[in-house]
Symmetry: C2
Subunit: 284 residues, 2 copies
């Protein structure tokens, strides 16, 4: 029986620290605030937004919403980003993507100030996570993986870690963050040969393959710690990850569940970044 690495426990611990940080900021006259920019009414966006707002409320972070119709022009969207950039009372900006096709994603990313880029989408944030410098913020899902490992006291220095997936929102940034903590990281992807044996090399495995239950029992061995980043809706409506949990769990040492794993921590990290941005704004 593997240890279940519960996102809820991590989220609660982070929330407690955040509440204290918000109190300190408020005592200094600053109310940390999240700006949310949303185009249209996509279900995924609204659901994530609901979670973020709830979390903001629970720790004392203010929310300012910028809502635009799905067919809003690029000019209009850039105007809203410039408004949020200029507003000293908005510390971090969450911008839902993918954007509609008539909008140039690169122009939008370039418009956002890295210091308000709590979701790690700007080139500044990418350079920051690659170079390990304080510039922007890493993508929240990548940092959620790191927060789970840290919460459960899983040491990374000198450990072999296999990362499955090389996307810019999770695989690549989490690989860099693990390396910055002195792990020896192998990055796998769709062109990797004999993926099961490369996954078995990892003492810790971060799975961000983007395919429901694609990583089956044969990929794992005793003693491994598995962080499953995937989240998919199965036929019938239940959720699952990239890992076939029922097969992996009896084999490995520790594993995150889906739901209740990485996803539960991700929203928390978004809000934590707002608080960090507010702290930095106070200092500068």
């Amino acid at each position: 029986m593997a240890q279940i690495l519960k996102g809820k426990e991590v989220a609660e611990a982070l929330a407690n620290t955040m509440k204290k940080d918000v109190e300190d900021l408020k005592a200094g006259g600053v109310v940390p605030a999240l700006g949310i920019i949303r185009l249209g009414e996509r279900d995924d966006d609204i659901s994530y937004e609901r979670g973020a707002k709830k979390r903001c409320e629970s720790v004392g972070v203010a929310v300012k919403q910028y809502l635009l119709p799905a067919d809003a022009s690029q000019e209009k969207l850039l105007g809203v980003i410039h408004e949020a950039n200029a507003d000293r009372n908005v510390h971090g900006v969450l911008l839902f993507r993918p954007l509609p096709r008539h909008i140039d994603d690169n122009a939008v990313r370039a418009a956002l100030l890295p210091e308000k880029d709590i979701d790690g989408i700007t080139d500044g944030s990418l350079a920051g996570v690659f170079a390990n410098i304080s510039l922007g913020f890493p993508p929240c899902t990548a940092e959620a993986c790191m927060a789970i490992l840290a919460h459960y006291g899983i040491d990374l220095a000198g450990r072999r870690v296999t990362v499955v997936g090389r996307s810019l929102v999770i695989g690549r940034p989490v690989a860099m963050m693990l390396m910055h903590k002195n792990a020896t990281v192998t990055i796998c992807h769709t062109k990797t040969k004999d993926l099961p044996s490369v996954v078995r090399e990892g003492e810790i495995v971060i799975v961000a393959a983007g395919k429901a239950e694609a990583i089956t029992g044969e990929y794992f061995r005793e003693g491994q710690t598995v962080i499953d980043v995937g989240i998919h809706v199965k036929e019938g409506g239940s959720l699952c990850g990239d890992v076939k949990f029922a097969e992996a769990e009896p084999v490995v040492k520790a594993i995150t569940p889906v739901p209740g794993g990485v996803g539960t921590v991700t929203t928390c990290i978004t809000i934590q970044h707002v608080i960090e941005a507010a702290k930095k704004a106070l200092v500068s």
Copy 2:
């Protein structure tokens, strides 16, 4: 007997392509030009500069030098960078570092336009190599490794590659560039446990450990391709790499020599970037 991957062959092939590119640019009315900014008279800088100027001359690239005393103020240096940024006749800028201690390296890096950053030192270039987008240029040494592999027709897709070293000038960027070519990359560093066995996992090994002859025969096995990035002066004045060549060469399939390997290609890449920058400037 291993195949010796000679830098000179690669450099000659690159030079031929560059000459053709420069002719085309000149026919279009553009003379590609390299700006060189140097503070003081450090031997290493002057030696590299001499090589770069010689290479520029041989392929038809112009050179504009900006020379400052070693004790020049930061303001003065930033002024020179702004001048080079603004000069439409200077397409790429080579700025010798490390800078003297009284100068803020970050402020200097931030001042240079990424599109003229042919040495890959700006945050824009770092984001570009991480995200695999056309923003700035990768560090020249990292690209020299890629050029050698390409010249000798060494396929990367699906191959296991071990990178020894995680610096921002070579280890990290070359790992990303290899991954963008679909290799499965493991990044090692000083905290990696049992380095020899991780190096033996690689079908291709990029060694940028920064220690003279630290990677001895026991690290290698049959069939490997080894790119040695190190260059060190031994007692007596001869040069050596990070790999103990005499021990590795009889074991592996192919290896770069030192001198005459990666270093020989690096200057070429610097000039190639100037030409690429001139092409981009022509289009935009």
